[in-house]
Amino acid sequence: MVALTEAGRAKNVSLARTAVRARTLVLAAIALILMGYAARGLLPEALYVWPDSLRVPLQAKANSWLDQLLRHTQIFDRPLRAWTRDFGEVLGIPMRFIQNLLANGWNYSDASGNRATVPPLPWLVIAAVCAAVSWLVSGVRLALFTLATFVYFGLIGLWNEAMLTLASVTVCIALGVVIGLVAGIALWRWPRLEAVLTPIFDVMQTIPPFSYLVPVLILFGFGPVSALVATLIFALPPMARATAYALRRVPASILELSEMTGANFMQLQRKILLSSARTDLLLGLNQLVMMSLAMVILASMIGAGGLGGEVLKALQTLRFGRGLEAGFAITLMAINLYSVGHAVATRRPNHAAGPENRRRLFVAGAFVTVCVVVALLHPAFRQFPEAWTLSSSDVMAQGVAWLNGNLGWVFEAFHTFTTLWVLRPLLAFLQGIGWFPMALALILLAFAVGRPRLAILSTLTVLSVAAIGYWNLSMITLHLVIAGTLLSLLIGVPVGILAASSPRVHAVTSAIVTMLQTLPSFVYLIPIVMLLGPGDVSGMLAIAIYAMATTIRYVSHALKEVDGAILEAADIFGASPWQTFCKVRMPLAWPGLVLALNQTLMMAVGMVVITVLIGSRGLELETIEAIAKVEAGRSLVAGLTISALAILIDRFLNAAATRGFPGHPQKVSS
């Protein structure tokens, strides 16, 4: 007993020492940054701005490499793109079939000039089939919701667009699930793959889509296949990661069971592993659906068409009402797809209900048949009649204009204040630090969070960003990300705390959060830019709104996870609610809270790329401007730089999350 307490005490002391050392290192890093900022002019300027004479011309190199690879590389006497395009053709077969079935129909013509057309399925039939599927997998509520969604597509006059999007998103999700599962299972079976795949996934998730649009376009041609590839690059990693994570959590006893029952390989994967990891997999599916639909708009730039194109057009012509209509259609589609996927995945096999199942199938079949007959009888049920659509008079845009006319001075004051007192000073400070003091400070921070290897990674990143001449642009991007994150935290954290403490608040916020997460961000760019004008202030606001949903969700989740018994114990010991909150709840929720910060920052990085469409200026501008100046390589380098910064932030915060609450000796494992 004595020995045990001795050991425990020694451990406590050493932990306390680590905490003290960590705090000292953090303070030293902050001091270094401040000193670096203050000492500008005293130290050689080369430590702040990388000298032009030593610049590494990576952008120009990348241009020629990419040109060589995409335009001139031959494999077996055929250009590389011929191979990728053939591959794309195969990928495109199911997609084109569904697109033709739902929206385009088929056009044939023979040599003598005769043409034949096969029309797409009638809208009523499509809606009926989808509603019937919803009913079969879930129930009446989802079926009605599905039906309402499809009628909504027709009512706003976007039936064809919605069907194109539905086709491409369905194929994308199906492919994403398959590839994601395979990659995830591979990651789980061969953990060494992680060293290779993790950085690749990180880059895929954080690189701005603008920077790879041109290569994808050359390799896969203009059209839905390119859009599919671009979407998969962005949406695939969460699914693969969720799969690997889920499988790792499957208890060993279940694996043993499979051995004892003599399951073969496929049975093991399908029946045992995937079904016991179901809840975590659903999280991956949810992410996949959300991300695929988030890419719908950017994908429309390279030929996906559909609803995304409509939202983009609304932004480009500042028609808020139209943007909202089309954006809401995307939201409804996302909820539908996810609900159906969720219902399919959580359905429990019911052996007793054979006749019941047959009855349900019969009812669904009868319903569809009736709809088919109705559609055959009257053309209005085949092609959605224009007379039924609601004309969008753009009441919303008029509302925004009214706000501008009557409260314009408020927005202008906000704009001026934020520019002069928040964004400009922040940017001046960040640009004043210089790459060298920043690199040193990051080394100290890496030791503070106990990851010496991070010191190497951060030094390399800072050095290369500075050496290719992107330091200043990075700071411009970063200042917007930081300002947006701070604003998001300023509102999101209190709301998250409230939501964690009261179920009623939670219900309200959770509805708003879902709405914010599924509504395409482009939609709320429109009123923001109409009210505040283009520029950094609008960008900051857009980032904050986009990231806020994540902040609220993660903060309330982190606080709710804290063990209630510990809180009660604190209460019994006579702690005031404030003490309980500061001394018990916050420290225990620390890893979750850091995760919230991390996710908010990642969302902010994701959004900063989009803010280029309302006039932000950093690396995100570089990714698009370079394309306009025929420098696809430069665009890719700028994109990779954004990606590198995001990954660096992520690594630091992840390390901080596993370290425990600053000043508290206990170590909380993640």
């Binding site: 793109r81 029309p119 057009k313 012509t317 306009a628």
Partner: protein, 318 residues
């Protein structure tokens, strides 16, 4: 269990059989669909839809592909888009590189001259009397008069969307101007921001392009920069600043028509129509205004032009 899918297939087949009554028609020589890009920009889209409408009237089937303007050059080079009747000559680098690939041919001018440069509303001329000459922008009085609280004591300048390749940063540096750039992100915002500033009579200079209902109207003027020269963007020693390139305006361009070579081989008739296709500056300004001011879709604006100008376009068709 197995009944359901088969039933569904049957009904589907039934639908095809009845609804898909083969619509047979005598068509023109090129049987494939002609793919024309559109960009969600009122000026180019008007031209694209007019030309597309024209081909439809000639009996061709036409597909409009929504694509990013800069990305469309790549698509044209690799034959993912067949032709492009509305390419702004001011995006010279993109055109040159695409044509240099050998896969794309320039079919010449649409007959519309375009101008893209800095533009100011008339009341700004009162604030800075030396305009439209660009050297006026260097006088301290002008800089002060054209600044706003957030422009950092510099000229309040509204730039271009990122895909314009306007070379403003280079120009400002080469000409030694003191201007604070605000970027609009999209053309729609660029025009709306300029309009908003004009309503409040704020000091502003911004990128403008003509033909256009706002920039082409009498409500303002273009700044006169040193005229464009091919050497200006390659040779630093050319022009007022001996050390920098882009000490000049953008080239005054024409709207040109591009087509893919392989497409031209299989559809010479379509290219023949493209060769003859011309519009006037007034046609364009009206087409843009109908969209921006009256809220028409570009398809409708184009249809209006086609309806009103039958005798013009009927001569282009074989």
């Amino acid at each position: 269990m197995k009944n359901h899918p088969r039933g569904l297939m049957l009904t589907t087949a039934l639908l095809f059989a009845t609804a898909g009554s083969a619509a047979l028609a005598e068509g023109p020589t090129y049987q494939e669909t002609v793919r024309i890009p559109v960009y969600n920009v009122p000026d180019s889209d008007f031209i694209d839809y007019v030309f597309g409408g024209l081909l439809t009237k000639a009996g061709y089937s036409v597909e409009y592909l929504k694509i990013d303007y800069t990305a469309h050059f790549t698509a044209l080079e690799f034959g993912d888009v067949d032709l492009s009747p509305a390419v702004w000559g001011t995006t010279k680098e993109l055109i040159d590189k695409t044509v240099a690939s050998g896969a794309v041919v320039n079919a010449g001018s649409l007959g519309v001259m375009t101008r893209e440069s800095w533009w100011y509303p008339n009341y700004v001329a009162e604030l800075c009397p030396g305009l439209p000459d660009w050297t006026a922008l260097k006088t301290p009085d002008c800089i002060k008069a054209l600044s706003t609280p957030t422009s950092d004591g510099k000229i309040n300048y509204l730039g271009t969307p990122p895909d314009f390749a306007a070379y403003d940063v280079e120009r400002i540096e080469a000409l030694g101007l003191e201007a604070h750039i605000t970027l609009p992100g999209t053309v729609g915002t660029m025009v709306a921001t300029m309009q908003g500033a004009m309503q409040k009579k704020e000091p502003i200079i911004g990128w403008g392009l003509s033909p256009h209902w706002l920039y082409g109207s009498g409500e303002g003027q273009f700044v006169e920069f040193p005229l464009y020269d091919d050497l200006c963007h390659t040779d630093p020693s050319w022009g007022v600043n001996p050390d920098k390139i882009w000490d000049c305006a953008l080239s005054v361009g024409e709207i040109v028509k591009l087509y893919n070579v392989e497409f031209a081989e299989s559809a010479p008739d379509v290219v023949a129509i493209l060769d003859k296709f011309k519009l006037t500056t007034d046609d364009m300004a009206k087409g843009i205004a109908r969209q921006d001011l009256d809220g028409l879709t570009p398809e409708r604006a184009a249809q209006e032009w086609l309806d009103a100008n039958t005798e013009v376009w009927s001569k282009w068709l074989p």
